[in-house]
């Protein structure tokens, strides 16, 4: 069936950005409402798409194929399956909240800011649904520039350094991946992902040596994006310097493109090398889990603390991918979404308090739960979701990952479980120092609590967290068939 829903979802934000370009820059409220509306339309389209998604179907759905640059063998090929659908929905869901949160926080160059965010959204959505490997690469690179501008223009004091670091780190990885893509094209004669997989399995298998190098190039690129220990050093800088909206998008969605890339490209294209690299990558993600948690434990800047917690949480996802167990990978995909929700919300909350007090140092707070009880409630819910408390979304993903990991190797499971305990430790420490205890600073006695706009963009996060936490069945059902199909690759 010829359906254009995916193209529509991907291109709506870009078209919106184009329209916004013609609005007078002084007309700030029109720009803000326009951007919000565009992202809401995208969300509506996303929900519509999810409604017609058939969880039991294997393979890609809502596929679109057109020729694009036939002279170079590049096609326009989109499709969605259980692995990508949740990430598309997560992106569609996060963006309206982000736009709403910037209404007060971003006062300079509002027009450019909204255009950048919309272009980001197109880049991220495109990367999740592209099935032509060059098309994926285009989107993958294209979202780099708006993010670079968001950090560099609207960021903090060391924004230029952070923006450059972010850009160069990512470019190093992606250009090596580009070379690997060219090699693959030469080997298989196509850029089309399903066709390439087919040919690699049947007519033109790669020898282990080539797989080793190509997997290395792909994985390096995605590991930088995730970021996997020890390639994570750009992340704390980028997070601390980025404006709130930038952090939310970065942690909420952008990092998942790394883990998604591992599942979608690196592992299926080079299964032998993936098995060979398995111990290394598992240990790196375990080190990342522990290291991220320990680093988070000693941070004084709240944003940096959350940034390191991301390193730890995404370590779980990478671990899940490389233990090659159905429930672990299902948990990994869910964990991507859960991390997007909980960390996205935490960054939004930090933005809320930063707007009022203009500091992110933990030592400048303490005891504010009494002053802003509603805020504190939201913060604690987000924290508990991040820790993985049963009944909230974080638990489902983490449990599936740990269960799967223990099945494969108890040692991995033990180390990972230690990471969960450390996670509870640093998050609860954050809550204690930030919200409870005596009020040391008098400025903190007069902080206003959440207003209606802030309620509007925080409440959906909480509702989703509870929904996934109490009734994850529809989500798991969307993911699981695709995962089992995916694991047949390794029927060795």
């Amino acid at each position: 069936m010829a359906s254009h829903i995916l193209s529509l979802i991907v291109l709506t934000p870009a078209i919106g950005a184009l329209l916004l370009a013609f609005v007078d820059r002084k007309n700030v409220s029109v720009i803000r409402q326009g951007a919000l509306m565009i992202s809401c339309v995208t969300l509506a389209l996303g929900i519509l798409m999810a409604g017609s998604f058939e969880g039991s179907t294997l393979g890609y759905q809502m596929v679109e194929t057109h020729s694009w640059i036939p002279g170079l063998g590049i096609g326009y090929h989109l499709g969605i399956d259980g692995i990508s659908i949740l990430l598309v929905l997560l992106t569609c869901f996060t963006m309206p909240m982000v736009f709403l949160s910037t209404w007060k926080a971003v006062g300079t160059r509002v027009k450019e800011f909204n255009i950048c965010l919309l272009l980001m959204q197109t880049g991220m959505l495109g990367a999740f649904v592209a099935l032509d490997i060059i098309l994926f690469y285009l989107y993958y690179e294209a979202m780099l520039i708006p993010m670079y501008l968001i950090i560099g223009i609207w960021g903090g004091k060391r924004r230029i350094y952070a923006a450059l670091k972010f850009f160069i780190y990512t470019m190093v990885g992606s250009l090596l991946m580009f070379l690997a893509i060219l090699y693959l094209w030469q080997h298989t004669g196509t850029f089309d992902l399903p066709l390439m997989l087919e040919r690699l399995r049947t007519s033109t298998p790669l020898d282990p040596q080539a797989q080793f190098w190509l997997f290395g190039a792909f994985t390096l690129s995605f590991a930088i994006k995730v970021p996997l220990f020890p390639l994570h050093t750009w992340l704390p800088d980028a997070h601390v310097e980025a404006p709130t909206a930038g952090s939310v998008v970065l942690a909420g969605v952008l990092l998942k493109i790394g883990t998604y890339g591992l599942i979608r490209f690196a592992v299926p294209l080079f299964p032998l090398a993936a098995l060979e690299f398995q111990p290394l990558l598992c240990w790196l993600s375990l080190i990342g889990i522990i290291f991220g948690a320990l680093m988070a434990l000693v941070q004084d800047d709240i944003k940096k603390l959350i940034a390191y917690s991301s390193v730890s949480h995404l370590g779980f996802v990478v671990l899940a991918i490389f233990v090659f167990d159905a429930s672990a990978i299902t948990g990994g995909v869910l964990q991507m979404v859960n991390h997007g929700l909980s960390t996205g919300m935490l960054f939004l909350l930090i933005g809320v308090i930063y707007e009022r007090r203009h500091t992110r140092e933990l030592s400048d707070y303490g005891g504010i739960a009494r002053v802003v009880p509603v805020y504190a409630t939201f913060f604690i819910i987000a924290t508990l979701s991040s820790i993985g408390l049963p009944g909230l979304n974080g638990f489902v993903g983490e449990f599936l990952i740990l269960a799967g990991t223990f099945k494969v190797d108890p040692l991995y499971g033990t180390v990972a479980a230690t990471g969960v305990i450390l996670g509870a430790l640093y998050m609860l420490k954050l809550v204690r120092l930030f919200l409870f205890g005596p009020i040391i600073h008098d400025e903190n006695r007069v902080i206003p609590d959440l207003d209606a706009r802030e309620w509007t963009y925080l409440l959906p996060f909480v509702l989703l967290m509870i929904w996934i936490g109490l009734y994850p069945k529809p989500f798991i059902e969307m993911v699981q068939p695709s995962i089992e199909h995916y694991l047949q690759l390794f029927a060795y």
């Binding site: 002279g71 285009l138 030469q186």
Partner: protein, 493 residues
């Protein structure tokens, strides 16, 4: 030999003829001496209009004429094929853009004289001829004519010392490289049985391929061209000349000289071959050129110098198709060179034209002069950003498709190490290509440097170049096909 000129010969030489004639007309139109005193500050729109009309006519003659491959015109001095017309059209397009931008820019530095335009057009005519030349003498004459025009353009602002210094350096080194070229030609002439035509050299090539004189002859000619395109170690003139010359002329030189020289070099190597040894040598030059160009650009604070080194680096990328062609897999990879030249042309022109918009009295060429440009002139900043991203090879720009084609050919031809080094040097280049972007978007303007009334011509040229960068990045299919066909016409004919 009959001294009759056939219609096909007229058709072949028509574009170059139009350009030379326009050059003459421009010179004559500006002869009226009564406004000499203030003529420098006058935008002289009539010269720009005449120039644009001339280049559009020449472009039409290039695009509409030809069709079939006709060799041995003018007793073998030139041929008429899609390849020559493609490269010639690139030169003429660059000429059109340069002419558009020149009026406003030259009046802003107070040096708006008719000579500038006629020099541009004489040089362009010679370049178009060079793209079509198929015999050693016509190649040499075309190169000398274009070099003379470019030497003078480099030293056009006579009251500035760096400009004269650059022009002098360029002249001396250029004369030196002509010596190499001529000596190489002499060797080839001797070895290939006393013929100047490339077709005879191609025919005799296989028999004399082992002759050391033949190899040395080809090598010397390659060296001569290496000077013109700025390949390491024959690149040392480029940064000084680029820094000294008026920026709009730099844009012209950087684009057109490179296009015409690469076209002639490709034609020469297709005919002469050169085998494994030459291919290895060019591969080494390409590697060093890519790395050195990009590394040297890292620390430049003068944007013209930075772009000069970046131009050297791009010469390195452009040499890769030659390496592939010489190894015996055939010169099909030349099509990626043609595409890359097109992408490089619009991109480089756009970057230099942006610098031209900043000039007031003299070139503002420090990267700091771009500070805060984005808030004063967002559209100019967008074009500059596009140009930088395209030079760095970021997707959705022309430069990405060009790099994709060249590296793809390299991987396909088994030269993974060339592609790898190309990619590593692209990573390096990202760092310095971002610096203007940082300056424009992330820093605040420090003075009044952007309070400039921009001339319409420059704006139009910028819009065209920026549009072309995007168009070639998003929908390159037509040009890809066209460059493949052009290359086929050269190989088949």
């Amino acid at each position: 030999m009959e001294l009759l000129i056939s219609p096909t010969e007229i058709e072949a030489i028509l574009p170059a003829g139009i350009l030379f004639l326009t050059g003459l007309v421009l010179l004559l139109v500006d002869l009226g001496g009564k406004e000499r005193a203030d003529s420098g500050m006058n935008p002289k729109n009539h010269l720009v209009f005449i120039g644009c009309a001339g280049s559009v006519l020449a472009l039409m003659a290039l695009v509409t004429g030809g069709g079939s491959v006709v060799t041995s015109l003018y007793a073998g001095a030139m041929s008429d094929d899609a390849f020559g017309r493609f490269a010639g059209a690139l030169v003429t397009l660059a000429l059109l853009l340069t002419t558009l931008g020149a009026g406003g820019y030259l009046s802003s530095i107070g040096q708006n004289r008719g000579e500038f335009y006629s020099l541009l057009f004489f040089g362009a005519g010679a370049m178009v001829l060079l793209c079509q030349a198929t015999n050693l003498v016509s190649i040499f004459v075309a190169i000398e004519t274009l070099s003379l025009s470019v030497f003078v353009l480099a030293g056009y602002t006579t009251d500035r010392r760096p400009s004269s210094e650059g022009a002098f350096k360029y002249f001396v080194l250029g004369a030196f490289s002509s010596g190499f070229l001529l000596l190489g030609m002499a060797f080839l002439y001797g070895v290939s049985g006393g013929s100047l035509a490339l077709s005879d050299i191609a025919a005799n090539g296989p028999q004399v391929a082992d002759d050391i004189l033949f190899a040395v002859g080809v090598l010397l000619m390659v060296i001569g061209f290496a000077f013109k395109v700025g390949a390491v170690p024959f690149h040392s003139w480029i940064p000084d000349v680029y820094q000294g010359a008026p920026v709009i002329a730099v844009g012209w030189m950087a684009v057109a000289v490179k296009v015409a020289s690469f076209a002639a070099l490709l034609r020469l190597l297709v005919a002469a071959g050169g085998g494994e040894t030459l291919s290895r040598l060019i591969a080494a030059i390409a590697v060093v050129t890519m790395l050195l160009g990009n590394l040297a650009a890292l620390n430049q604070t003068n944007i013209k110098r930075m772009l000069a080194y970046s131009g050297i680096a791009h010469t390195g990328y452009l040499l890769i198709p030659l390496v592939l062609g010489l190894t015996g897999t055939g010169f099909e990879s030349g099509s990626s060179m043609l595409f890359y030249l097109a992408a490089y042309s619009v991109t480089t022109f756009a970057a230099f034209a942006v610098i031209a918009t900043l000039s007031r009295g003299q070139d503002r060429e420090s990267i700091d002069d771009l500070n805060g440009l984005a808030s004063k002139h967002p559209m100019i900043a967008v074009v500059m950003t596009l140009a930088m991203l395209s030079l760095a090879g970021i997707p959705l720009t022309a430069g990405f498709v060009g790099k994709l084609m060249i590296f793809r050919d390299a991987v396909e031809g088994g030269y993974i190490y060339l592609a790898l080094i190309g990619i590593i040097s692209s990573v390096i280049s990202v760092y310095y290509y971002l610096r203007p972007v940082v300056a424009m978007y992330f820093r605040e303007a420090t003075g009044d440097q952007h309070e400039v009334e921009h001339p319409w011509g420059l704006h139009l040229a910028l819009a065209l170049a920026g549009g072309a960068i995007l168009l070639l990045g998003i929908d390159p299919q037509a040009l890809v096909e066209f460059s493949v066909e052009s290359m086929r016409s050269l190989l088949g004919g």
